[in-house]
Symmetry: none
Subunit: 200 residues, 4 copies
């Protein structure tokens, strides 16, 4: 009996420490990003010793891996569940997007780890991205003023444009595929008219 009680006690203690550790890691990683988060910082934030960290994760990478995979899994699950509630690609996208932003709101730190530092892994790049976003804001605002663009929230759209171009170009650069002209055409077309067919 005593053994069983002890076993449970230990398990509970372990579980609590693990949760503290995860919470601390989430916080520290979101704040500083992977490369600037030191084990010692995470341990300190969790109020445990450095050595204790290694009782729960074999390496720094392992912690990061688990957090990112777990988050991605949860996010994917949430989106997939949402999609099941409706029919049609458009409707599915609508609810998926909603689920995505709700999840992001509830898990700011985790999302920051996955997407936040993804866009600009250090301060220097952050500046450059900011510059392009600013430019995009202007172009969008100008387009709206001229009534060539719809009156969408320009900051959101500007970020969306920069994000899509950044991701697409980084994918394209490693491809032996489509020409620059083709890429430009498709992207322009998509940015202007979206996915929905005309008369849709």
């Amino acid at each position: 009996m005593a053994a069983v009680v002890n076993l449970t006690r230990y398990q509970q203690r372990r579980e609590k420490t693990k949760q503290d550790l995860l919470a601390a890691a989430r916080k520290v990683l979101a704040e500083r990003g992977y490369h600037n988060a030191k084990i010692i910082d995470i341990a300190a934030a969790a109020d445990i010793g450095v050595g204790t960290f290694y009782l729960y994760y074999p390496t720094k990478d392992a912690l990061f891996l688990e957090m990112v995979e777990e988050t991605a899994r949860l996010l994917k699950e949430r989106i997939d569940e949402a999609r099941l509630t409706v029919e049609g690609a458009v409707e599915k996208m609508r609810v998926a997007n909603h689920a995505f932003f709700c999840f992001a709101e509830e898990n700011r730190d985790l999302l920051k780890i996955i997407f936040g530092h993804g866009n600009a892994f250090n301060e220097l790049l952050r500046t450059v991205y900011g510059m392009f976003v600013e430019d995009a804001v202007e172009r969008v605002a100008d387009g709206i003023e001229r009534a060539e663009f719809r009156a969408l929230q320009s900051h959101i759209v500007a970020n969306a444009l920069v994000g899509m171009f950044a991701q697409v170009v980084s994918w394209w650069i490693d491809q032996e595929g489509p020409s620059a002209s083709y890429m430009a055409e498709v992207m322009t077309d998509f940015a202007l008219h979206g996915l929905t067919p005309k008369q849709g």
Copy 2:
């Protein structure tokens, strides 16, 4: 006179070394990313001594900053020039996009530094992004099959979607602004219909 000539020679020599250094840095940074590019590697690639590096840049960051800013400046210039050749927000976007991809094609290494490693600063995140892109490819293909979406190249659009959501969410997370529902609506709207007004 001789002094002036010498001065000039020195300046030219300095300039040449600086160019070698930049070229080497471009190559090494594009190949390995910021954190895995060691000063000693860059110096070796430029065929100069480590100490010499510090005669041209005060820190590793300074070199990176200059490269990134220079690239951004050149890219911006090219895009701005392109825009001047046409009228209208739509036309400006069209030529800007074309200029963007042409520049990217001509400066793969530089673009990789700015956008390539930006999206997923390590292998782990790259995997997660890949997962989301794959999912997006499926959704897009499904939508096309159902004739709810236009027949755009699904890989391009999938990357664009993931990129825009990643960037937007990373921006939004730090804002005290729009609600998740509003964000989802705008993004869905933009993804489906693009910037162009109906009947445009």
Copy 3:
């Protein structure tokens, strides 16, 4: 009365645990050597908790010391007993040697701890020793072929030669004593003619 009985029970239990611990330590130490045997491994092998280990031994060294001393004591005892059964230095050596190898056979693990890892505390030195043993094997075999040496099992003799020189030189190095030439002479003489006087 009951208290006495309980006391005894506890003592027996303690004794049993201690024996388990020794057996586990013997196994683990023989397998991995002192530096690679972790307390946690020994405790696990004994099926007790790490903390429990420290109820029986104050430090890792203490356990090692006890094991080694106990083994040495037992071995010495066995050899001494054997010697008592006969008369004369030669006969005593003969039975002592027999007792030694019998003890070694029965207590492989313990002997490995004392002598096995002693000769070459890591893989590297083991290689070097192996090299010298190989060389010795050749020399011995050559001597036998030339009929200058008796037809003793060359591998055994080769190991014996390397072992004796290693031990003697490690003792001599710290002495302010015999000259190199003298050492060489004595060792050569001993290796060639052994302890027994001529015409003995």
Copy 4:
């Protein structure tokens, strides 16, 4: 020209540092043994920074490896050279032994690293070895007194005996070979009569 001069200067500097490092490593390793010699100690003894160590050796093991292999190589060379000067297995052994002890005298530290710490890799084992050597001294002295053994220097022979048994048993323990009785016989025979045939 300047470049050539510099190159040479650098090479000389490197060479000097390398020699300092080797000398320091030899000293520290001989004094404390492999496991107790810390990189920081070696660096301090060589009067260089820790980082400098790694400019010369990629790991602690690498340094140890080089030192041990180099020493073994030199020792082997010396012994082989000596052997070439004479004919016959006995004579070869005689000069080899002499060369061995001369080399040991000239390279005490190196020999200590290879053989010194080999016999007893820590203080605990050293004690046990000492105990067996003491016992052997007594037995040898007794045998000499009884005129059963020749009057060889008992300390030398005692060490030789302990060394040969230790090495042989550590080799035998891992063999699936000769029986304990056979081993005892061969060893007794060898210890008593050496390699030389009777009437030799």
